[in-house]
């Protein structure tokens, strides 16, 4: 047996003899299991609930009686954000964004009913998911098991005895790395098995799943190297422990909280009231359909009359009110898109800033990697919002076109007793409206979103390895 493996075996034997270490390890495995199961049941419950709500909403939409198309524009549609299969491993921002959205004409609504506003204060302490266990808890366990790996030998002088017996510094360090690495592997394994089980068949998601697996492996490897590094660099076990716990606190607990505050102070977001007022202001200058003298709508009317070669809207072969609806919705939607894009871009800049701070904290980098690959980050939410908006616009314009073509102008403006009946479009029309179908991103898209985070974690790992190589050279030197 090589010296390295002998040293690793010896270190592992010592850990097994340490009853506290074994209990801590068992607790971590148990915690992982609880996290996998609760995350799985939570996500499955949520997915079922949303599918059921979506089904109810679609049924309600299709079951509408004969109605005026503009009524349906205001009746609107409810859509629910479906959860990707990897959300069970890392739900990311799902609890914060709200899962249901009401789509209607002339308005862009927010996604509502997020868990964060429907839960006790405990929700802000963090969520028990496999991702949380690996990001936050696993490194601390590795610290407890590994802080003394070399510091203990230095403190007691046994490192010199090892070297007297012919072990090189490199062999000692590699042996300790191997032992702690084996523990890290065992620590991560249950979560990874759960991960594969949660995701079901890998299929198209093989690439993001591999990214997540590599990312977490690199992250835990980084902690192993950091722990051995600190253990090699200090003279006393206690100093190693305190330094490592401080490092963990800063990287895992403190920086992830400080970074968002820095980002939100640096890049302000416009709130909804200001956005709504600004949109209304812009709309008044672009074209105000309420104003009979509005130049934009006067020109629009002239162009419509010219196109059909008539002089009065009453003589048009189509319903002018429907055409007005089409034009009005086009205008408002241009503005919605402009303001939404500005807000999304501001949020993306905020997140980029946080990711920049991720250069200092591999946990931030890993978190963004993990959410991006699982499709549960801001970009994933934005994908949903943009598809919802595209669907809303298509639906409203389809209804406006229906008003233009299937409801006559004379009926639409009549107020006699039977007019209400004549304005309505047959109920069969509602069933022919396409349903909202969320197009999930491809595995390659998800993996690409995770690439920057992965690069930072691997960069950290490389840096820590170089530092460890340097520290190894000075190991056991008399100071």
């Amino acid at each position: 047996m090589s010296v390295t493996r002998l040293i690793a075996r010896d270190e592992l034997r010592l850990m097994v003899r340490n009853r506290v270490a074994v209990i801590a390890f068992a607790l971590l495995v148990l915690l992982t299991l609880v996290a996998v199961l609760s995350s799985w049941s939570h996500q499955r419950g949520n997915a079922e609930l949303r599918a059921r709500h979506q089904h109810e909403a679609e049924h309600a939409f299709d079951a509408q009686p004969d109605r005026h198309p503009h009524r349906v524009v205001h009746y609107g549609h409810f859509i629910f954000r479906p959860l990707g299969p990897l959300a069970a491993f890392d739900p990311g921002v799902d609890a914060f964004t709200g899962s249901s959205m009401f789509l209607e004409g002339h308005r862009q609504n927010t996604a509502n009913f997020g868990d964060v506003r429907q839960s006790s204060l405990l929700v802000r302490f963090g969520q028990l998911t496999p991702a949380f266990v690996l990001q936050v808890v696993a490194p601390l366990l590795l610290i407890f098991l590994g802080y003394g790996a070399l510091a203990r030998e230095t403190e007691r002088g046994t490192i010199r005895m090892l070297m007297l017996q012919g072990a090189t510094r490199g062999q000692v360090v590699r042996g300790k790395l191997m032992a702690l690495g084996a523990v890290a592997l065992l620590t991560g394994l249950p979560a990874m098995i759960g991960f594969v089980a949660l995701a079901g068949q890998p299929g198209a998601l093989a690439l993001p799943m591999a990214t997540i697996a590599i990312g977490y492996a690199a992250y835990l490897a980084l902690w192993v190297v950091l722990i051995v590094l600190v253990s090699a660099a200090v003279r006393r076990s206690r100093d190693a422990l305190l330094a490592l716990v401080a490092l963990w606190t800063v990287a895992v607990v403190l920086l992830p909280r400080v970074a968002p505050d820095v980002a939100s102070a640096a890049v302000p977001l416009q709130n909804r009231l200001q956005t709504d007022v600004a949109i209304a202001r812009d709309l008044r200058t672009m074209g105000d359909s309420h104003n009979p003298d509005d130049p934009h709508f006067a020109a629009f009317k002239r162009s419509v009359l010219d196109r059909y070669g008539v002089t009065r809207v009453e003589d048009l072969p189509v319903n002018y009110k429907g055409l007005l609806g089409l034009e009005g919705e086009r205008l408002t939607t241009t503005l919605f898109d402009r303001y939404a894009t500005a807000s999304y871009d501001a949020q993306r800049r905020q997140n980029a800033l946080v990711e920049g701070i991720g250069l200092l904290s591999p946990t931030i980098a890993l978190r963004s990697l993990s959410m991006a690959a699982a499709g549960t980050d801001f970009a994933g939410h934005r994908r949903f919002l943009e598809q919802a908006e595209a669907y809303r616009y298509a639906l409203v314009q389809r209804l406006n076109r229906m008003q233009a073509e299937d409801v006559s102008y004379a009926d639409d403006t009549a107020v006699d007793a039977g007019a209400d009946r004549r304005k309505r479009v047959s109920a069969t029309a509602w069933q022919q409206m396409p349903d909202f179908i969320y197009t999930a991103p491809s595995g390659a898209t998800l993996a690409a979103g995770a690439a920057p985070g992965l690069a930072i974690v691997i960069g950290w790992l490389a840096l820590a390895a170089v530092l460890l190589a340097l520290a190894t050279r000075r190991l056991g030197a008399r100071r």
């Binding site: 009913f113 302490f125 104003n291």
Partner: protein, 420 residues
């Protein structure tokens, strides 16, 4: 007295102590500054409301003034409401980063409006805020651990323990001195910056006193735990590892487990179901005789039942009546939803009685009025305001009064909570 001074001099000679206290001070100040900046941002956003609102409502008034139609005024006028931060909000941001603190409502169905959110970046909200509550609940125990894990074991390992125990004023008195000195230092580093910030923010004296006492009590809990573990006569390293593990369990793991358990034990009928049912009730009115709608409305609101009967033309009083009918048809669901949220909140608070981390967080967010109860109280104020809006517009609609430009100024104005 001089003995304490000597202890202080001794303590401050240790690099670890100096670094720990300085770091805690810096973190406390940074958290207070960050919280105050956030609250200032929110106050500025609220202060900017009237100007934007005036511009918006002027345009509506110009349009409505042509027809003097009260219905159009009710339909197109959005009225702002806001939840000004309580003086202590800077110390515990609570839910203020994810729940809206400015919301505009109009006199239509409220259930379709009240659950709307404001723009916020979910990735920034995910890890939680960096505020005083975070420093106290999450970080201060780690500093207790750093300063207390080797209180006795360090002396034993240095071989001084027996000598110290044998000294006059040694033994128990010595440990009492050292413990209270360290505790007092930590407490001062947390409390002094807090008191300064609270004074600037105009927090009332009793509230400051409670926070300062809670800070002391929370530190005392961790000190007691450290002393208890110190009694086991383990090495300093074992003490530190055990205390850090206790921190992990009490501050991170049990709360997350509690969250899972509470949400499973107290199912909340999804808010989305309220929205779906309300929309169905509201839109159904277009498909039934209008008299049915009015009958039902007048049954619940007889004060308007002497209004003129509907003609064949569209009338906004019918429109607003079925919106109110829609709200009333889901009142039971709304009550159940709210009861569910309150039950979850109560369960979280109950956990706070046995788990100091949760208890302190709950108490701070309660004092700062940034917890769920504060959010629900704001919703109640929005509901009251909305009821006033309805009464205001109904007077014009049901009595067929013209609604001119001047009437826009008579609309109810949302009132701030006194003292904010």
């Amino acid at each position: 007295m001089s003995l304490v001074r000597y202890e202080l001099r001794l303590l401050l000679r240790q690099r670890l102590t100096i670094v720990a206290l300085a770091l805690l001070g810096v973190l406390t100040i940074a958290a207070l500054v960050s919280g105050m900046a956030e609250v200032a941002r929110q106050r500025a956003a609220i202060a900017a409301v009237p100007a934007a609102q005036a511009e918006d409502i002027d345009a509506v008034a110009d349009y409505v003034d042509r027809t003097k139609d009260a219905g159009s005024a009710a339909y197109y006028s959005f009225h702002p409401t806001w939840d000004a931060p309580a003086p202590l909000a800077f110390a515990a941001i609570g839910m203020r980063d994810v729940a809206p603190y400015i919301q505009r409502v109009r006199a239509l169905g409220l259930e379709a409006q009240i659950y709307d959110g404001d723009t916020f970046n979910p990735e920034l909200a995910l890890p939680g805020r960096f505020d005083f509550a975070f420093v106290l609940v999450f970080l201060s125990p780690l500093f207790v651990i750093a300063l207390f894990h080797d209180l006795v074991s360090g002396e034993r390992e240095a071989g001084r323990l027996r000598t110290l125990e044998a000294l006059p004023h040694g033994g128990r008195a010595l440990w009492r001195r050292r413990t209270s000195l360290r505790l007092a230092l930590l407490w001062a580093v947390l409390s002094i910056p807090f008191v300064v910030a609270a004074a600037i923010e105009g927090v009332s004296l009793p509230v400051i006193a409670i926070v300062v006492l809670v800070t002391a009590a929370y530190l005392l809990f961790w000190v007691a735990l450290a002393v208890l573990i110190g009694r086991l006569r383990w090495s300093s390293v074992a003490n530190a590892a055990t205390l850090a593990a206790a921190w992990l369990v009490l501050v991170l793991i049990v709360p997350t487990l509690g969250h899972v358990a509470i949400n499973a034990a107290v199912p909340v009928a999804q808010g989305a179901e309220i929205a779906l049912a309300q929309r169905e009730a509201v839109n159904h009115a277009w498909d039934v005789p209008r008299e049915n709608t009015m009958r039902r409305f007048y049954a619940n609101h007889p004060e308007w039942s002497d209004s003129a009967p509907l003609g064949p033309e569209f009338h906004y009083k019918w429109y607003l009546a079925f919106h109110q009918n829609g709200d009333e048809s889901v009142a039971k669901r709304v009550a159940a939803y709210r009861a569910g949220l309150e039950a979850r909140d109560a369960a979280g608070r109950a956990l706070g009685w046995v788990l100091p981390s949760v208890g302190v967080q709950g108490l701070l967010t309660r004092l700062a009025d940034t917890d769920l109860r504060g959010r629900l109280a704001y919703q109640d104020r929005v509901r009251d305001f909305h009821a006033r809006l309805r009464a205001f517009y109904y007077r014009y609609l049901f009595r067929d009064l013209p609604f001119g430009k001047a009437d826009f100024d008579r609309a109810p104005v949302f009132e701030d909570v006194p003292g904010r």
